[in-house]
């Protein structure tokens, strides 16, 4: 499944390669940048990489350069890329003592050509979302992308997962 999540004159956010597994949902998130900002370091705000240290002058506000992404599930729970500091590097389930109380978005690498205007990330959403609607949400003031939501039905994805075969059957 592929869909456009958000768009501005300076950026397009796309979700594709949605695949459900027994214990989670995997997908690719991409942001194409039309005109990179003069300060290229601002693009480090894609997914809040740990070395993006810019802060808003108002501590109650997120900095404009910080890309915000998350999902809202049918049971009302949510997961966002702002849940943990340094989300980009090395966050794994082992970082949580015990079972997390809410869904978690785990970054799995960029897997892209590295071109400066092509920002990509592969995510793992744990656990597998319940049947029903999933809402994908993003916002990036730096690129003029306002708060945007896109809702899909998770049921066909879950049904496809049930039909898939394991690579290494137990």
């Amino acid at each position: 499944m592929q869909f456009r999540l958000a768009r501005s004159p300076n950026g397009v956010v796309t979700i594709r390669h949605l695949v459900a597994h027994s214990n989670g949902l995997e997908f690719q998130l991409e942001c194409l940048v039309n005109q990179p900002p003069e300060d290229a370091e601002e693009l480090m705000g894609f997914l809040g990489r740990p070395y993006y240290t810019k802060r808003s002058s108002d501590p109650s506000r997120l900095p404009d350069g910080l890309f915000r992404f998350g999902v809202r599930l049918a049971d009302g729970s949510k997961a966002t890329t702002l849940q943990a500091p340094g989300m980009w590097h090395g966050t794994s389930l082992s970082a949580f003592s015990g079972r997390p109380e809410q869904p978690i978005l785990l970054p799995m690498g960029s897997g892209s050509s590295g071109a400066p205007r092509l920002l990509q990330a592969v995510f793992w959403l744990w656990p597998l979302p319940p049947a029903g609607r999933i809402t994908f949400v993003c916002e990036w003031p730096l690129l003029g992308i306002s708060f945007t939501e896109h809702e899909i039905d998770a049921t066909p994805i879950r049904e496809a997962a049930a039909r898939s075969t394991q690579i290494w059957p137990k």
Binding site: M1, Q2, R4, V12, T14, R16, H17, V19, Q28, E30, L32, V33, N34, P36, E38, D39, A40, M108, G109, G111, S112, S113, G114, A115, P116, R117, L118, V122, I167, W168
Partner: protein, 191 residues
């Protein structure tokens, strides 16, 4: 006598920041939204390793994909397979090296053992295979690849061989139709 304050000349103003370079015509575009090709296939397997192609995205000038190495639970891969095959004095890759390539319907082919001349003014001789970057753990890893140009109509072969992990020379064939159709759709989503 002049004061000490004007001894050191002020710095020249910094050059204006230049725009990052655009991809070359044979590279993955950065101004087109690629169209996914729903494909997830095991292209080769042995007792210990499965090699998978997935996350295939088509563009008017080629396609990107992910090559995934999945070891059997409990098995550790001998190496990540792709790097360092040009060991000093070696003219052939060792058994540790994962060989991977693609072949178009017109017989043209490219493999990861060919050295690509990055930075040459080009255009290169098609097809080309770029990337191979990625990684993971000794049990599972993922590598990004880009192929230029779009394959012609007909069969497209993914070919692999990984002696140390027991993968014999394997050819996996798909039709290029799905990639070509997706590429056509991608062309209509320019920024």
């Amino acid at each position: 006598m002049k004061g000490a304050g004007d001894f050191f000349e002020p710095l020249a103003p910094p050059p204006p920041p230049s725009e990052p370079p655009r991809p070359k015509p044979w590279e993955q575009p950065d101004d087109i939204v690629g169209r996914e090709v729903p494909l997830e296939v095991v292209i080769a397997r042995s007792q210990t390793i499965a090699i998978i192609i997935n996350r295939l995205t088509a563009y008017p000038n080629g396609f990107a994909f992910n090559l995934s190495l999945r070891a059997k639970p409990g098995h550790e891969m001998a190496s990540d397979g792709f790097h360092g095959w040009r060991r000093r004095g070696a003219s052939v890759p060792s058994d540790e090296i994962l060989r991977f390539g693609i072949q178009f319907a017109d017989g043209s082919k490219v493999t990861n053992l060919q050295v690509f001349a990055y930075g040459a003014p080009g255009p290169p001789t098609p097809p080309i295979l770029l990337g191979g970057g990625g990684g993971g753990s000794s049990n599972r890893s993922d590598f990004f690849f880009w192929v230029w140009p779009l394959p012609p109509p007909g069969p497209l072969l993914f070919v692999t061989e990984w002696p140390i992990e027991g993968i014999q020379l394997s050819r996996y064939e798909i039709s290029s139709d799905a990639i070509r159709q997706a590429a056509e759709a991608a062309g209509h989503e320019l920024l």
